[in-house]
Amino acid sequence: MDEMDLLTGLRDEVPRDLDVRAEEARLLSVVRAQAVPVGKRRARWRLGVALVGALGLAAAAVTVLRAGEPPVPPSAARPSAATVLEDAALVAEKSEMPDIRPDQWIYKKEGQPVPTLPVYESWHRMDGKRTAIREPGGELKIGKGEKGPTNPIKTQAELESFPDDPDELLAHMRTIDSRAGSICQPECPPGTEADVNAFGTIQWYLKFGPIIPPEKAAAMFRAMAKIPNVRIEENVDTGGGRTGLGVVLDLGEAGRGYTILDPVDYDYLGWKTVRGGEVFALPMLASGLVDEAGQVP
């Protein structure tokens, strides 16, 4: 019997079936405070004709652009991260973002990393007071918003406070708490930890495409280009039925993290990580800003 066995036996009298009802009650009081339905509301489809028209036109423009894109010859040299991300930054800068009203909702339909899970649609009201979800084929459920770090009012404030200068933004991203899927943590090659943090955190914010101010989106793309070991991979499978332009943080055997962008308008299409032969993908199937919970862009 070695010291480890002796240690394992220490205080082994503490039973395995301890009463956890008090803790459960405390957790549930917190959970339910966020989950109380606000009452069944009929979704009001009140989307303005003008908005539909605008979106329809935008979609048409994108389609035309896609059709008009010259096919990329297979022998084309692999584009550099600096070139592609600068182009993405220029497109972002030229885009216009309408004013966001606090009573609008950010809509997201994000795929799951595991195919057995249903794909939910979610709406978060911009003032953070309400969230809503819908399961495939299910009814819209509206509940109270949550106060955590994913509250859209916080995200919006954070986005607006980002520096426009890509170097300053990158320095900031290296230090704030990472919010993204891991690539190699906690065994990243020495010296790459801050890069991994910055790459993953920028990716996390890119999910909020519809509410990112154009100059901040541009700075985010330019900051990404400055991260060492970032390269571009074309025709990357998002795991959600599409392929896109992969901005890859490639740390070799330690892992690869992909931020996947639309090859035409550089919209965020998803996140993917490849590590030791395992692939986890979180495709963004749709996202946008809408006027009511239940609406889709």
Binding site: R11, R16, L18, V20, E24, V31, Q112, G148, Q185
Partner: protein
């Protein structure tokens, strides 16, 4: 070293990551995570800090986890490293009290932590010199070494999971556990290993 994983931690079988993903839209789903992990986590915390402090720590661990679920890394099917990492931080706020409890055991031979669960007399009889020496050695370890050692010994964590839990490299956990074990061995000192196991075997 035995490795305890969530029975449903494998992808596609309703692992923790799926529960957390679901709970982002359906908060009450988070209760599943509590049912899976709370009893073992509570036992772990009780062994470190006693029954009284454990209720707060377990409740706070799960409410903190619930609030942070939006940032959970869904590529990690097993949430134990995450939960025990949060708990380890909370335990760290009670370091003085943890050390006091080890010292009490080392000094008096009676363990205030197990007393609520055993007959008082039986508890005293069971506490022997070996326990006292182990407790004194645990009290003297640097906090990070004790966290790593106890996640492995009492939490039944692999080195990899302990590393994830503590947010350090596997090599760091390995060296911390190695050095902590060395100190434990030294503390047990020249005690006759036969006598030791006999004494302990009756505990």
């Amino acid at each position: 070293m035995p490795q305890q994983r969530s029975p449903l931690a494998e992808p596609g079988t309703g692992g923790d990551a799926e529960v957390i993903a679901r709970s982002r839209h359906d908060p009450e789903a988070f209760a599943v995570l509590f049912t899976r992990h709370a009893p073992a986590l509570k036992r772990y915390v009780v062994r470190r800090l006693g029954l009284e402090a454990a209720e707060d720590i377990v409740a706070e661990t799960f409410t903190a986890a619930f609030r942070q679920r939006g940032t959970y890394d869904l590529t990690r099917a097993d949430a134990r490293p995450w939960l025990y990492g949060i708990a380890t931080n909370l335990i760290g706020r009670h370091r003085r009290s943890e050390i006091t409890l080890y010292r009490a055991l080392s000094r008096t031979g009676a363990d205030p932590v197990v007393e609520p669960f055993t007959d008082r007399v039986e508890g005293r009889v069971a506490a022997g010199e070996v326990r006292g020496r182990l407790a004194a050695a645990l009290a003297a370890l640097p906090a990070g070494h004790r966290d790593a050692l106890l996640l492995v010994a009492w939490g039944e964590f692999s080195y990899e999971d302990a590393a994830r839990s503590l947010g350090v490299a596997v090599g760091t956990v390995r060296s911390r556990v190695f050095r902590a074990r060395e100190k434990l061995r030294r503390a047990l000192g020249d005690a006759d290993p036969t006598a030791t196991s006999e004494e302990y075997g009756h505990g």
